[in-house]
Amino acid sequence: MDEQGLIQEAKNGDINSYNRLVLHYQGLVYNVTYRIMGEPQAAEDATQEAFISAYKALNRFRGGSFKSWLMRIATNACYDELRRRKRRPQSSLDELTEDNESSAFLHSPGEGPEGQQQQMELMRAIENCLQTLPDEQRVTAVLGDVEGYDYKEISDMTHVSLGTVKSRMSRARSKLRDCLQGYKELLPFSYRLMGSA
């Protein structure tokens, strides 16, 4: 895929070129928004909002990593959605049902039925613990530990200093470790051993 060519064509108003970019990045953006939002529907909304915003603001993209630029917009969309939800808290039965059904989308590595089940439970535990973090720490942990961005990229995406990223990452991991102690039986043996030490 000629990313720069597609971006240029999209800037000139070729929406089909832009849609090819959308197809390429939608999985990545959706997964990040899902980890941050913690709900499939909210993640869908944030993802759609991110792609619309990115298209409208495409002329402001001045080169560099399109992926990072897109992730920055997706992160902003998540923050906006989180703020909206804080103003109008909502919890519906549908969301709970969807959450239960969401395991159908999980793809875990094949380890045999029992191991696979345990791995899935561990992943769910981590996702639950992620949702207990404050928004800023969750975003930092998702971008850093789940998606593998470095501190500089996270700093650019979240508009905070490197020191703040460092601090948020440290606090997020500390809280995640504490939270995961509640799921000791799911943790790998080595992790349990160290946790109890």
Partner: protein, 314 residues
């Protein structure tokens, strides 16, 4: 800078944890990295912490990718061309404006503190001058009364015009003293504006006093001619009257060296008052210059918010 200040508030344990996390993410400078490695070599608990964090990170990296529930492609019928890039980018303009405003704000704040101490000096000077003027006026008045009490002068010399002038000089001096008194009282009660006004009044009193001195000098110069006329008409000597005028003149003259610093001090007060424009009421109590600093602070805050919003839109 902010990171440095933030680090000052962190405990040693927090800083160590941050360094350990940054070490895990390979985000440390070589020197810091070496320091963490030295600490790790000496501390088994730290090693355990690092291993646990590494395990957690690996687990998180293995979080399964979720399938996208639908396509997020945009409908060509709904979306036209992307927005044109504006000729003037809001962010750089706002950023520059914010930086400039911040500098002006800091300068104004420093100037406000400096001027505040200068106005205190001015008020102290105005107060001391007012006291001197008052005492001088009292003595002038007493001298005038004493002279007035001499019957020989009253009965025989009869230069009524001259006597009235002496009384006028005394009255004026007393009036100036009262004005200076009022200025001092007002200055104690009021902030910047009142301070400026009182100092200004003090300076006016000084100026008028000097004018009085000049008129007294003129009077003394013309006095011999008057005396000669009077002597010729009444055939009586008039030196005591000349002496009374001279006393009043002398008292006023003594004030001159003390008036000079009043001018300097009151000049500062005047400048301050005129610069400020000193509004009344609640704002007046803040002081005009403080008001400017406050407004600058508000403008700075607004610019800061706008800059952050513009940055976010990039």
């Amino acid at each position: 800078m902010l990171d440095y200040l933030r680090n000052l508030r962190k405990s040693a344990e927090e800083q160590q944890q941050e360094a350990l996390n940054a070490y895990l993410d390979d985000a440390l400078a070589p020197q810091q990295r070496q320091q963490v490695e030295n600490e790790l070599a000496a501390d088994a608990n730290l090693q355990a912490d690092l291993a646990q964090m590494r395990a957690l990170q690996q687990q998180m990296r293995q979080l399964p990718q979720r399938q996208v529930p639908r396509n997020f492609m945009l409908d060509p019928a709904l979306y036209g061309r992307p927005r044109r890039e504006p000729l003037i980018q809001a962010y750089p303009v706002l950023r520059t404006a914010t930086v400039l405003t911040a500098f002006i704000f800091i300068f104004a704040l420093a100037a406000n503190v400096f001027l505040g101490s200068a106005s205190n000096l001015a008020s102290e000077s105005a107060e001391s001058v007012a006291m001197i003027a008052e005492s001088a006026a009292e003595s002038a008045f007493e001298e005038a009364v004493e002279l007035e009490a001499e019957p020989a002068m009253e009965m025989e010399a009869q230069p009524e015009g001259v006597e009235e002038m002496v009384e006028e000089e005394s009255d004026k001096a007393l009036g100036f003293a009262q004005a200076a008194d009022e200025a001092t009282a007002a200055e104690q009660a009021m902030p910047a504006q009142a301070l400026g006004e009182s100092a200004f009044e003090g300076s006016e009193a000084g100026i008028e006093l000097q004018a009085t001195l000049e008129s007294a000098d003129k009077l003394r110069e013309t006095l011999p001619a008057i005396m000669e006329t009077e002597e010729a008409s009444a055939g009586l000597p008039a030196p005591p009257l000349a002496a009374s005028t001279a006393v009043a003149t002398e008292i006023a003259r003594q004030l001159i060296p003390q008036i000079v610093p009043t001018h300097i001090a009151s000049g500062q007060g005047e400048e301050l008052a005129s610069e400020v424009g000193a509004p009344d009421g609640v704002l007046g109590s803040l002081g005009g210059f403080s008001l400017i600093v406050l407004l600058l602070g508000i403008v700075l805050l607004i610019l800061l918010v706008l800059t952050l919003m513009a940055r976010r839109r990039l």
